[in-house]
Symmetry: C2
């Protein structure tokens, strides 16, 4: 190891927050203290927005107690942003870096953030400005390429699995049909985690719908009717990104219909998939069966990514690790092209290793739930359970008579 | 103590489940083992429904390991019911009791269940059938009379406070306006618990609306505008039962308007308060301020009463205690009129004691959030924090830079 490039570093957080994104931040802050190639460590307020506005806070002197509390805090402690910089925005980022002698840029985020990192990195190269850009993975969607899984996923998945576990008990207690809408517009990993709530064949979730497995209204209702006939109840875990037989998102179709129908002052633009599915069951299935069905829906919403005090210990540790590793990689001249820290799973008992992969390999594109994890278009396989269980760790204890 | 009445006992669970209602069930099962006045202990499936259908399971022989797991399980392990028996239904309950030599009836539930217990008790007296009826308190709404607070409230309140804590971090991270809808149709206790999420003046929830403090759309929007102008963001905790200046529930007004407006195949009868408030802010406040506001809403839904592995230890212990105490009271001939177990708070450091209060004293009517706990119609007082904190116990750690 031979570090020739010295200067300041900027760290930022981007995109939808997670419960453990601050673990990665703290990992970077802690690891930087061990090295001399980084002088100032500047935290950018609200990601790239804070870089162009030069809103930085100094992170070198933050005490260990505050760091420990920050690491347990959900959502981006530096502030996040939804800005997706184009060329001119990236030029302003670059100008801010040059002005502040920033030579290292650590950016925690998903595939969009990796792409921002890539553009900035290429711009610096073109300008002959030595800048080393390291992307640190983060997303509850678990949809980054190269990675076996992503920091943030395990904790969100733990929340979802536990929530469905409890909701299944509630539904067994007061039987009916329950629709639970889970985050994930394009990838079904988070919704698939609902399967871990099931201890036996009686337990919900009885049906699981992910964006990768299109389902029509007719098929959906037939599925529900079948489960209800067998069990007298039905717990449904559905991804917000579920698509119909034509490949269109249910949510978009609902929204388009709502806007067309709206003639009041208030347009219920946020009206959701859960309400729609519940109403569909009440009306169409209820009419068909000739009875008033008890149907409810919940949309788990932001709690999935922000609920504190209920993280996966494995996820928290891995999120910390990828932060530390980014700094370690930055200290090695061999990595002067920068890159994205990625997590690979080792063979055998659960363990991971990190690699540094080119920014372009994780930028922009997303990973989808593999076909082998999907069963009959409405269920999730045991192979997925084996994949996801170690990421989530122990779930709460529940049991039932009989 | 001199127990003259011997026979079988029935235990049932009723109404909306909680995270700790099974603690009370287990408390009864465990305590019964110490006494000889109760022969069989029959668990009624789905409350009064299981009594009239004679769907009982024997609870005397359940092993300690299963009991311990059941006690940690949210929602009613025996099954619950929404049935509110009238006279003839109560006569069928009574007939089932007489047939099965049931002399003790333990009913875990809220004020409706206390009323059922009262009717059945009076019916038995009229028929000269010796029956001792004990109501065991349970409700996340915390709205039972006589009681300082109710089992189930502390855990739901802990969930709400933690959820708002995390959501406030999320909102600080990606600033905007966030509406969080919390359970409680008539009483604001659960929504008020959101105040415990606030560590300082910057933290959300910035506005808290409970059913006891009517608020008009204009006042609501003015409140939000003021907070947003000061902080650039706003987290709002609102009870599902919030009422307008005329005393009408917002949710009912919204529902009536929706049904009037609907001319599609699907009537979004479940469309909610959160969506409505968010849209109201986006349209009216957004227009007034001449900008596109980032507004989101979440409805915490059933997770508040069913999320496992996140209960208040105090709440769990108290729920177990009221179950045990019901059996102890039943063993004392002095309590041959039956009654409802109630929790009173002692003076000084937090501690409770139980009393047996007449069934009629907790039946039907509900308690409301006291005026002294409400500040300016949109906030909750420090006195409430002092009241609620010991019921909830420690909250997760979160912190922020600066």
């Amino acid at each position: 190891m031979n570090i020739t490039l010295k200067g300041n570093a900027v760290i930022g957080q981007s995109g939808g927050p997670t419960s453990v994104i601050n673990q990665s931040l703290v990992g970077v802050i802690q690891e930087v203290q061990k090295y001399s190639h980084i002088d100032k460590l500047l935290g950018a307020r609200h990601g790239v927005r804070g870089i162009v506005d030069e809103k930085f806070i100094s992170l070198r002197g933050v005490g260990p107690d505050l760091l420990e509390r920050i690491s347990q805090t959900p959502a981006a402690a530096l502030g996040s942003t939804r800005d997706k910089p184009k060329q001119d925005y990236c030029e302003r980022i670059f100008a801010s870096f040059a002005k502040n002698n920033v030579r290292y840029f650590f950016y925690i985020g998903g595939n969009d953030s990796a792409d921002t990192a890539r553009i900035v990195s290429e711009l610096a190269k073109k300008e002959n400005y030595e800048l080393r850009v390291f992307h640190i993975p983060k997303t509850i969607d678990n949809d980054l390429l190269v990675n076996d899984h992503t920091p943030g996923y395990g904790s969100a998945a733990k929340f979802v699995a536990a929530a469905i576990m409890g909701d299944n008990c509630d539904n067994a207690s007061l039987p009916g049909i329950k629709v639970d809408v889970i985050m994930g517009r394009n990838a079904g990993f988070l919704t698939a985690a609902a399967v871990l709530a099931r201890r036996n064949d009686h337990d919900g979730p009885h049906l699981i719908y992910v964006p990768e497995a299109p389902v029509s209204e007719d098929k959906f209702l037939a599925d529900v009717e079948k489960v209800y006939a067998r069990s007298g109840r039905c717990v449904i875990a559905v991804s917000e990104g579920v698509v119909d037989q034509t490949g269109k998102s249910w949510a978009e179709v609902i929204k388009a219909n709502l806007q067309r129908d709206s003639h009041g002052n208030i347009e219920l633009a946020n009206s959701g998939l859960g309400d729609y599915m519940a109403t569909l069951i009440e009306t169409r299935l209820g009419t068909k069966m000739g009875k008033k069905l008890r149907v409810r829906s919940d949309t788990f919403g932001y709690l999935q990514r922000s609920f504190p005090g209920f993280v996966s210990a494995t996820d928290a540790a891995e999120a910390r690790l990828v932060g530390r590793m980014a700094v370690q990689y930055s200290a090695d001249e061999a990595n002067n092209a920068g890159g994205s820290v990625a997590m690979l799973r080792k063979d055998g008992a659960y363990a991971i290793e990190t690699i540094l992969t080119p920014l372009s390999s994780v930028a922009r594109n997303t990973k989808h739930l593999e076909a082998r994890y999907i069963v009959d278009g409405n269920n999730i396989s045991d192979a997925f359970k084996d994949y996801a269980r170690p990421l989530i760790g122990p779930l709460p204890v529940v049991d039932a008579f009989e």
